[in-house]
Amino acid sequence: MRAREHGPPSEGEVRLLASLTSGGPGFYALLGLLLGLIAWGIIAYSLQLRYGLGVTGLRDSMMWGVYITNFVFFIGVSHVGALMSAILRITGAEWRRPITRMAEAITFASLLMGALMPVVDMGRPERLLNLVLHGRLQSPILWDILSIATYLTGSTLFLYVPMIPDIALLRDHFADGPAWRRRLYTVLALGWRGTKAQRRYLEAIMGVMAVLIIPIAVSVHTVVSWIFAMTLRAGWNSTIFGPYFVSGALFSGAAAVVTAMAAFRWAYHLEDYITESHFRRMGYLVIALGMIYGYFTFAEYLTPAYKMALHERGYLMAVFAGTFSRLFWFTQVVGVLLPILLLTLPRISWVPRLQRIPLLQPRPVLAATAASAALLLATSVAGSSTAALGEVATARTVLVWLVAAMGGWSFLALLPVFHRRPITTAFVASVLVNVGAWAKRYVIIVPTLQNPFLPIQNAPPVWRTYKPTWVEWSITAAALAGFLLIYILFSKLFPIVSIWETREAASEPRTPVREEAPDAQAM
């Protein structure tokens, strides 16, 4: 058994290890695109450094915007590491083994990007050291620094320690790589030989870390939410912001790991490791977390909305029916409800029967939807030149409803397609979750700022609403590119699936409790 765990790579593992060296033209194109985005973001940031934050859409009333949205988003996504590795490890969920490293690497990359965002948002980044020299523990910003630094240290260890046996395997069986790689693996393997004592230490460290990392992760997003909840502002002044943010973080983090699973399975041909059953189980997890998050959202908004107290009225109306209503309902319908529905679909047995209904043939329905959408687009272009005409507005309203109805119809028509392709469906659902998560962070921050206690008076009209500029969007794109770059380079340096842990699972004498799904045995 021991020989199996430290032996030469098997056929599937050879394919996995090949992902470390082979990079096609697609890989280099992606690398170039990401580096280009980052370079463009650096140009935008240097402009901001030169001319000040005035190059952003931020003003005195809307003092925080896209940068802080990114901060909350990235820190939220980072929670997946603690969820996947720690919680599933402690609860003994054996199926986690091939995906824990993917999850931990997301944590590492997104924490780096998340921690960078407040620095980008600072008016005086060169005074960053003041936070150490003159730091005051009363300020939630110090709480953030301490908890994020602790989580970054902890999750980096949590990523690295269980990687040591694999690094040793690379050192021993991956001799054809360039010299710098062999040197790197030799140093990082820390002299791992797989002895009994070494394995005992590894197990002990992982056991302690798994327990410790959970409260740390919970604390991280709790104190991120307290940046808002420690102020008196309507919409932020909430007692449940801590758990609300933690639930949202776990939801978006779990979805991020589904996205990564689908992407790596496709790009690195990991069908042996990441099976349909992994998507099913992760789907259950995302559904459960989405329901918890939806419950928190409901509780968070209903309690002030029922009372409509003076100070809360402005932001609530802006969110439910005003300037931000489209974005808010998008986050709830497309970002929470639809993903949950999509992930449930493969388990609903009557869905394939929809194919037999003539009115629900995907192709004609999609064509009709596209046509009505094009019509709407055409009228809105024409309508802007004749804006005063009432009939155009009425016609447009009818068209909007038509397009919405067509959208519902094509969704129904596509249901059997989703049912046939559960992995694609899970991928789409997980991307939607994170698009919605980003938009929801924005809806938490901006409507509150647009509705302060004192009205915004005597200010130029552009100061009354927040509209992010190209500088902010460029830096946001660069941050996302930076996240992807770190993540992809990580997967090129280390196997993205833990080899020794999956071997251990395969060679374990006791058969883990599995469901009847045939593909579950394939791993």
């Binding site: 934050l53 003159h134 730091g135 009363q138 002990a204 302690v208 940046i227 008196l232 509705n451 008076q457």
Partner: protein
């Protein structure tokens, strides 16, 4: 997960050490000039005796640190500066804003004392509402500042040191009175503005990327003068003085007892329900001599 008891205890000890590290860091910096929390806002931590200030709801426990003695702008600890604004006398001429901006060379786009048009309910007429910094005794901005760039002086002033501010804008987010402003770009400079070395007492020369605010003109007050806005008000609507002396003065030279002025005229503090304990009092806009302002536009945001 086999873990011996001894190893676990060792681990806990190490963890405790790691947790104590930031606390130790804080102690180190405190010795260098960050103040300890003082229950009453006095720099020494001793209770400040103000014999003429009545004890009661007005004297609150401060959660904010007093200013360190080494800091550039300590302020006389025996004073408690206070402002009273008579809304019945304000005709919205904005002379206060102009005088303030001229005296402090306030960057464009900022109004450290800003005149709002307010309406409490649909039945009542609108009124003018000058809003300086409220110099809260329980200041939300001071609580959240991560680097002590803003602090509560012994004389009640919430001061701002733009030479330390890192520009995180958390104080702007925390202030319920929208009284804090940010220098989004490099402010335009004049030779007069640049003539004086920077001091929080005057709060100029201005610089990019930091927060600024009304500071009750400690530079003028030190010279025995009234703050710029108080001097400039043609209606004598703004009174300024020392709560410890129980005397406030306006631009007409009227000096009255603070306790009587506020006590007998239903003085109130803005957003009292938030518990910020402002040091600015308002007399109600009743029996106004001047025409009310036009109705505030409902689309301008805010709750009133």
């Amino acid at each position: 997960m086999r873990l011996s008891r001894r190893a676990f205890l060792k681990f806990l000890t190490a963890l405790g050490g790691a947790a104590a590290f930031p606390a130790g860091l804080n102690l180190l910096t405190r010795r260098k000039g960050i103040p300890a929390l003082a229950a009453d806002g006095s720099p020494t931590g001793r209770l400040l005796q103000l014999d003429r200030v009545p004890a009661g709801p007005g004297s609150v426990a401060l959660a904010a640190p007093a200013e360190p003695p080494e800091r550039p702008s300590p302020g006389p600890a025996q004073r408690r500066w206070v402002m009273v604004i008579d809304l019945a006398r304000c005709d919205g001429c904005r002379a206060c804003t102009e005088a303030c901006s001229a005296m402090h060379f306030v960057p464009p786009g900022q109004e450290w004392i800003k005149v709002y048009t307010m309406r409490d309910n649909p039945a009542a007429d609108p009124y003018w509402f000058p809003r300086p910094c409220m110099q809260c005794d329980n200041p939300p901005c001071v609580k959240v500042c991560p680097v002590s760039a803003t602090w509560k002086r012994g004389d009640g002033i919430v001061i701002q040191d733009t030479s330390r501010c890192i520009g995180c804008r958390f104080c702007i987010a925390a202030c319920p009175y929208s009284a804090r402003y940010f220098n989004w770009v490099e402010p335009p400079h004049t030779p007069e503005e640049l003539s004086r070395p920077y001091s929080p007492d005057w709060n100029y020369p201005h610089r990019k990327g930091v927060t600024e605010k009304c500071i009750f003109c400690p530079g003028l007050v030190k010279e025995g003068k009234l703050p710029a806005c108080v001097q400039a008000c043609p209606m004598g609507a703004i009174y300024f003085g020392d709560q410890a002396e129980d005397a406030v003065t306006n631009s007409q030279g009227e000096t009255v007892r603070f306790s009587e002025l506020v006590g007998k005229n239903a003085g109130s503090r803005f957003l009292e329900e938030l518990g910020t304990e402002p040091r600015v009092y308002y007399l109600p806009p009743r029996n106004r001599v001047y025409a009310p302002p036009p109705e505030p536009a409902a689309t301008e945001g805010g709750h009133r």
